[in-house]
Amino acid sequence: MFTELNSILNATPDSFTQGEFILVSDRQSDASFLIHHFLSFYLRSFSHYSAISQSLGLIFQEGLKESLSILIPQDTTTGSQAIGCMSMSSDGGGEEGVEEWGPPVLLVDDVSVLLSLGVSAGAMLDFSHYCRATVCSQLQGNIVTLVRCHREEAEDDGSDGGSEWLLKGLVHQCSLTLHVQGLPTGYCRDIHGQVEVCWRRRRGDGQHTQKKLFQYKVHNKGASFFAPGTSSAVL
């Protein structure tokens, strides 16, 4: 859990907004450190429910292991089966969450892998819509997903249209976006990239978006976020 990011997002393990759909995306860089942040953040908040702290019941849907049974036999599955088993697991988690625990959190690491396995972007958008309806609205839980894009090509070819379309579609569905990119000036050892945080809040008068830009550096103990130009290497 990165404390600086918590202060940026105005969230603590004790109090965070529920029913949020958080989208983490990256372009030509690696945003998985943010997934680590959210994972430890929600684990920390779950531990406050002392009664259930023994059986946290994290459902690590290890897609990698499950996929082997699907991929190797010859007469099987399309990507829709992968979606099917993911939706079953999220339903299971959701129901248990209502009975015993607090609001559930669905953390999907790398939705783009599903795209490269052949699932269409439309199916992914449907899936995220149903997840949002179940987890966020019905169960008041949170969803965090990671989408990885390649650099946007000038021509609009269909093959990676999937990743960009999915990102654009998800951006409209979510309430908080963290977009990770490399520095526009090139590779730097001390500043690993920039994060653009975008809140999409629904006020009475319509959508209200607020954007902030930070630069970050990842080290072994965590990540530090700072305003552009205030890196410790520069000052």
Binding site: D30, L64, L71, V113, L117, G158, S159, V180, G186, Y187
Partner: protein, 408 residues
């Protein structure tokens, strides 16, 4: 992202049952010592050598067990094939098992071309009996007078001596002797030998990839590389070398068409391969002819599905071959991706402009050095043109705008 498995350090539930005494020797690490491996200093992963020591250094000490190294081939597949042979040769020297798959050349041919290890401190275990040791008068002649304590040690060191060293050097002008090569166990997959079954229902993978994945899974399960099987006395590593995946010879049209029909075949295969590797004691090196794949986004997906990725760009046949700036090197090496297993930060090399040279006894990778420009009037080729449009998959900005370097 699946967490890489490092369960060789699993607690005593899987210890061999003969350990019945209560005395537990305190070892520094719980890792079972498999010959030819060492734990990483950064994150405790079990590493194997790729056979090229400078490449080991770039990858953070070696190739972690359970990961995939993707090599984007150079135009004529000469240096990528060389690195694949180094990888397999290292497996032979460390007594690992090999699995070689190819659609183009017979795996036996690839295995016969392995470079010979440089043997100053690696001795081959000759299966021939040594009659000198038992013969009495010879012993008296060879009796040591000063170092008599060492007299009773075996005269020919067994090949276990080689396993204590991590990373060996090879002489590419000679091929490995057949005795050494036959001592290692090799599994082969040659695509023309596997008839394609005509199945009506196609999974996302095409038949050649599914057959390869199935064959690899069988080998892993049969030979006991699975981590789920109960631990026996000795464990070994399986080195998997897959040559030129994605080329047309694998019945994949990824490199033939701009809009391939099987656009997800290779990515699905790589996903399945990683699933297999994560749950077993194996390492894979995959070469892909990326210069034939037009879709850069697809190449990006393929790179992200592998843990380590490097790209080779040789100067042969290009106008750079005659460029005096490059005369010391055979090509450029781009590190596309380095994994960060069990830690947050990744260790990318500090320098992005790396060049390689295949020397007779070493494959050296070093930073591209520009010769000093002593003349005042000669205009130097700018760095942006030299390094090319290599986009590194790290948190660095767009590579093609490297021409607009910030020049102070």
């Amino acid at each position: 992202m699946a967490a890489p498995v490092n369960s060789v350090g699993k607690p005593s539930a899987e210890r061999p049952p003969f350990n019945s005494t209560s005395f537990q020797k305190k070892t520094r690490s719980k890792l079972i010592s498999i010959p030819g491996t060492r734990p990483s200093v950064q994150n405790g992963q079990l590493l194997v050598s790729t056979g090229v020591t400078s490449l080991d250094y770039l990858l953070g000490g070696g190739l972690a067990v359970g990961t995939v190294l993707l090599i984007e081939e150079d135009r004529f597949d000469s240096y990528s094939r060389m690195i694949l042979k180094y990888f397999l040769a290292e497996g032979v020297v460390c007594r690992h098992e090999l699995f070689v798959a190819s659609a183009q050349d017979n795996p036996d041919d690839i295995l016969q071309e392995l470079p010979a290890p440089i043997l100053d401190d690696v001795a081959i275990h000759k299966p021939v009996e040594q009659p000198r040791l038992s013969c009495e008068p010879q012993d008296n002649l060879d009796a040591m007078k000063i170092a008599w304590r060492y007299q009773n040690l075996p005269k020919v060191q067994s090949a276990l001596a080689s396993s204590s060293r991590f990373g060996h050097y090879y002489d590419v002008s000679k091929t490995m002797e057949p005795e050494i090569r036959q001592a290692a166990k090799c599994h082969r997959f040659y695509l023309p030998e596997h008839p394609t079954q005509s199945s009506t229902t196609h999974s996302r993978m095409i038949e050649s990839y599914s057959a390869l994945l199935k064959s690899l899974q069988e080998v892993i399960h049969r030979e006991g590389f699975d981590l789920s099987t109960p631990m026996s006395m000795s464990r070994n590593i399986l080195r998997v070398g897959l040559h030129s995946l994605g080329s047309a010879l694998w019945n994949d049209d990824l490199s033939c068409h701009d809009d391939p029909m099987h656009s997800h075949a290779l990515t699905t295969f790589l996903y399945g391969l990683r699933a297999l590797l994560r749950s077993s004691l194996s390492v894979a090196v995959v070469t892909v002819p990326s210069h034939l794949i037009q879709d850069r986004a697809l190449m990006g997906n393929i790179t992200r599905l592998c843990d380590n990725a490097i790209a080779l760009e040789s100067f042969k046949g290009s106008e750079r071959e005659t460029n005096p700036l490059y005369k010391d090197y055979h090509g450029l090496l781009h590190v596309r991706q380095v994994p960060h297993l069990n830690c947050l930060a990744s260790q990318l090399p500090d320098h992005k402009d790396l060049a390689f040279k295949l020397k007779r006894k070493q494959f050296s990778i070093e930073r591209l050095h520009l010769p000093p420009d002593l003349s005042e009037t000669v205009s130097r080729v700018s760095r942006g043109e030299l390094a090319g449009a290599a986009a590194v998959a790290s948190a660095c900005g767009s590579g093609t705008s490297g021409n607009k370097h910030l020049d102070f």
